[in-house]
């Protein structure tokens, strides 16, 4: 599956594809669109990316997770475009022999993604829209 998609992310299909008989743990994280943020009702979100760079950064992130943790495989998929409440914006699936490195790698992957992958979300409200910006920080890992 591509790392960046514009259609709904089929998380069960990702899980089935990654799973192998030697795995003892599969951890799946889904980022989901909330109906509120900073005290305001959010109607929907749009995600935009610098796609060429985001693809590189996600691939690098997957490689780093495989080096740092005792996992067999990690898949990261981020969705772009307009997303409604409850829809999955990002899915991270980790397969490993044991649960501890699977949880750790998944946490590392989402935390690092949110700091380093050039993707931005725009929140749409009843009375306007706002680009959300992360904490000013180095995009380098």
């Amino acid at each position: 599956m591509p790392l960046l998609v514009r259609e709904p992310i089929d998380v069960p299909a990702l899980r089935d594809r990654i799973s192998r008989p030697e795995d003892g743990a599969i951890v799946a994280f889904e980022g989901v669109v909330r109906n509120n943020a900073r005290g305001r009702q959010v109607l929907y979100l749009e995600y935009h990316a610098y796609e060429a760079m985001a693809l590189k950064k996600i691939a690098e992130l997957e490689s780093r997770a495989r080096q740092l943790f005792a996992i067999r495989e990690i898949d990261i998929v981020h969705r772009l475009g307009r997303l409604e409440h409850g829809e999955c914006s990002v899915a991270i699936i980790v397969a490993a022999a044991h649960r501890a490195p699977a949880f750790e790698a998944c946490r590392f992957a989402i935390d690092t993604l949110k700091k380093t992958v050039p993707i931005w979300k725009k929140e749409f409200y009843e009375d306007g829209e706002v680009w959300i910006e992360g904490n000013p920080s180095e995009i380098d890992d």
């Binding site: 980022g31 995600y47 935009h48 990316a49 610098y50 060429a52 760079m53 985001a54 590189k56 981020h78 914006s89 990002v90 989402i110 993604l113 949110k114 700091k115 380093t116 992958v117 050039p118 993707i119 931005w120 979300k121 725009k122 680009w131 959300i132 910006e133 992360g134 904490n135 000013p136 920080s137 180095e138 995009i139 380098d140």
Partner: protein, 81 residues
């Protein structure tokens, strides 16, 4: 010398540009190209402390040198996930 310049998120809204070709003969590095756009879009100045630079889809700094055919990108701190 020509470079492709990309703006993302709030910076694209400010400049009204997502992508443009620039004759960059007068500019040697990424930071001087940002300064060039600050002159025509003063709102960019307020973003300068937090703006991130990329050169050919890799993280770069204001001192990164540019050459003909390069792709330079400017964007705010990321907010995916």
């Amino acid at each position: 010398m020509s470079v492709r310049v990309l703006f993302f998120a709030s910076l694209a809204d400010i400049t009204g540009l997502r992508e443009t070709e620039l004759d960059a003969s007068a500019f040697s590095d990424v930071g001087s190209i940002y300064s060039h756009f600050e002159a025509s879009h003063p709102q960019l100045r307020a973003h300068r402390p937090s703006v991130l630079f990329a050169l050919n889809a890799e993280s770069a700094g204001p001192d990164s040198r540019v050459k003909d055919g390069d792709e330079v990108a400017f964007f705010p701190p990321v907010s995916g996930g």
